[in-house]
């Protein structure tokens, strides 16, 4: 990657629970996810980047500008780093109304040029909240205001530390569409920390996996998610992300036909205009395998694929990575099925995909 378009990060930080030891180049575009279990060091990494934590040794270079280098004694204090930070909790200032909260950073970072306030307010749908005090907002509203506040200080990039973790499922669903919009606009690069595989699959373009304070995978989201060899990605939520192009919409059955690299898929509802690119999330538990094409199944999506890798763990199940054209998806099957079907790497099979979640790319 070109140094002018990356955030170069190198940190070593000792903590009683773990030792953070990472070296990374994160792209300064789109959303880069940092995924890992709780206590893996994700939040510490974000706090180091923001300057809220001062590690033993560290280096941070943003698009060629050195923000921190302990070997040369370079240290930018938190307020001198052009970042936006969204914490787990909204952390709005209780004595200021919503408008003055979102203007707080705006006034202090004037040198970054004036961001379009009305645009950001509209993007996060907080027009009607501007005159309210933080204690008059719901949890979801407050977090949207916090995101707007971080965006409005015109940062080089925004750090988001599990911004949805403190919200219940309903509130998460309320905020996710706003993050989708932010992602679609792509004006501000975001580094997004999460322990929720669904969130990173939905939002991220680039994905870093951290385990025990170390980077265990780093790459584009499609290829990292199908790393079946990583136990942390092999959990109940395991799945893959692929792209598809909208080909047709069947009005009568309310289904959209998508063209993917390995074949065509039907997804429920109207997924977009013809030719539009969409992101598909396919959970491993929604994929099953057959030796021959089943001819009377209720499952619409049956695609030929080739077994790419088989990863068994101690439990009853195994993850099978499949090549579907250029794409890789994963299937969760029992170890017994693998034995009885005598599945091996390189075998031709049919993947039955029971459900597909569709997102804008």
């Amino acid at each position: 990657m070109n140094a002018a378009s990356t955030v170069h990060v190198r940190y070593t930080l000792q903590r009683p629970e773990f030792t953070l030891d990472v070296e990374l180049d994160l792209p300064l575009r789109g959303i880069s996810g940092v995924f890992g279990a709780s206590g893996a060091g994700k939040t510490s990494l974000l706090r180091c980047i923001a300057g809220l934590e001062r590690p033993a040794t560290g280096k941070l270079v943003v698009a060629g500008d050195v923000w921190q280098d302990d070997e040369s004694n370079i240290w930018r204090a938190v307020h001198e780093r052009d970042i936006g930070y969204v914490f787990q909790e909204p952390r709005l200032f209780a004595h200021l109304d919503v408008r003055r909260n979102i203007e707080y950073g705006l006034r202090r970072r004037e040198h970054n040029g004036a961001p379009d306030i009305d645009h950001v307010i509209g993007l996060l749908g907080i027009e009607r909240l501007l005159g309210r005090k933080p204690d008059e907002l719901s949890g979801g509203e407050a977090q949207r205001v916090a995101i707007a506040r971080a965006l409005l200080c015109a940062p080089r990039f925004v750090l988001m530390d599990e911004p949805l973790a403190s919200l219940d499922q309903e509130r998460k669903e309320e905020i996710l569409p706003f993050l989708d919009r932010l992602h679609a606009e792509g004006d501000v690069p975001i580094i997004y920390v999460s322990h929720n595989i669904d969130e990173v699959s939905r939002l991220c373009d680039h994905l870093v996996v951290i385990d025990g304070g170390r980077v265990v995978a780093d790459g584009d989201v499609q290829s990292v998610l199908v790393r079946t060899d990583l136990p942390i990605l092999a959990g109940r939520e395991a799945g893959s992300v692929i792209q598809g192009a909208v080909e047709s919409y069947d009005d009568a059955d309310d289904l959209t036909g998508l063209r993917c690299s390995g074949g065509n898929l039907w997804v429920p509802g109207n997924a977009g205009q013809t030719g539009a690119t969409v992101r598909l999330r396919i959970r491993a538990s929604d994929v099953s395998l057959c030796r021959s094409r089943p001819d009377n199944s209720t499952i619409l999506n049956i695609v030929p694929a080739q077994v790419d890798a088989i990863e068994s763990d101690a439990g009853p199940s195994a993850l099978v990575r499949l090549a579907m054209g250029e794409d890789r998806i994963i299937a969760r099957v029992t170890r017994r099925s693998i034995r009885e079907l005598e599945l091996r790497e390189g075998d031709e099979v049919f993947a039955q995909i029971k459900s597909v979640a569709v997102r804008a790319p």
Binding site: A50, G51, L52, A77, V78, H79, R81, I83, G84, Y85, F87, E89, R91, F93, A94, H95, Y104, G105, R108, R109, R149, A150, C153
Partner: protein, 224 residues
């Protein structure tokens, strides 16, 4: 007893309490901020020193202050050089003594206020481009209004009610150091119970109003 002998000591007490409170807010703010933020090993030592006036008999504090502030003392001699007047048995001396005497009553509520504020709001302010000083004035201070209210009222009321330290350091000079508590003592000594009654009732009412206003405002804020 004429109005002058009744109100002059009260006025002097209120003046002393008001000036002391203002000075204390300026001194106590950095001390309380440091105590709330630090994990330094000096913290306990500073905490103890600040709290000493709560447990020491006022006469002990008054005695040491008399020595230090006196014309031969470390601070007193410097003051004489600077102004030509002695610090003991003067209004200025009373202000210095009152500030030390009431310091814990200003520092404690501020520490509690700053601690309950926590790091979270400050971190948010820093990431939004506020320097540490800026974040203190734009976020910590306005969010600690209640701590300041308690600190102001307690410092004021405590200074209004002090007796021992004032007597030791200030003596009993009308219009200069004869504050209301000294005046009451004076009247009782000369068996003038009627005047003592009047002065005591006056102080009682003033103290009651001050505390009542604080609790009232505090409660109103809480329910808002």
């Amino acid at each position: 007893m004429n109005a002058d002998t009744l109100f002059q000591p009260l006025l002097l007490s209120v003046q002393l309490a008001a000036i002391t409170t203002i000075v204390l807010m300026i001194i106590a703010t950095p001390i309380a901020w440091w105590l709330a933020q630090t994990s330094s090993r000096w913290k306990t030592l500073v905490q103890t020193t600040v709290a000493l006036p709560i447990v020491l008999p006022p006469t002990v504090m008054g005695f040491y202050l008399l020595i230090v502030l006196g014309p031969g003392g470390a601070i007193g001699s410097w003051w004489v050089e600077l102004t030509g007047n002695a610090l003991t048995f003067s209004f200025a001396g009373l202000v210095v003594a009152s500030c030390l005497y009431s310091l814990p009553f200003a520092v404690q509520p501020l520490v509690v206020g700053f601690e309950s504020l926590g790091q979270r709001n400050l971190e948010a302010a820093w990431t939004l481009g506020a320097s540490k000083i800026d974040a203190f004035f734009s976020v910590a201070l306005p969010l600690s209004v209640r701590g300041y209210l308690s600190a102001v009222v307690l410092s004021f009321a405590h200074t209004l009610g002090e007796f021992g330290v004032v007597l030791m350091v200030g003596g009993n000079i009308p219009g200069e150091t004869r504050v209301i508590s000294i005046a009451i003592y004076d009247q009782v000594e000369s068996l003038n119970y009627h005047a003592a009654h009047q002065l005591s009732a006056l102080l009682l009412v003033v103290a009651f109003i001050a505390l009542f206003s604080m609790f009232f405002v505090n409660r109103k804020w809480r329910t808002q």
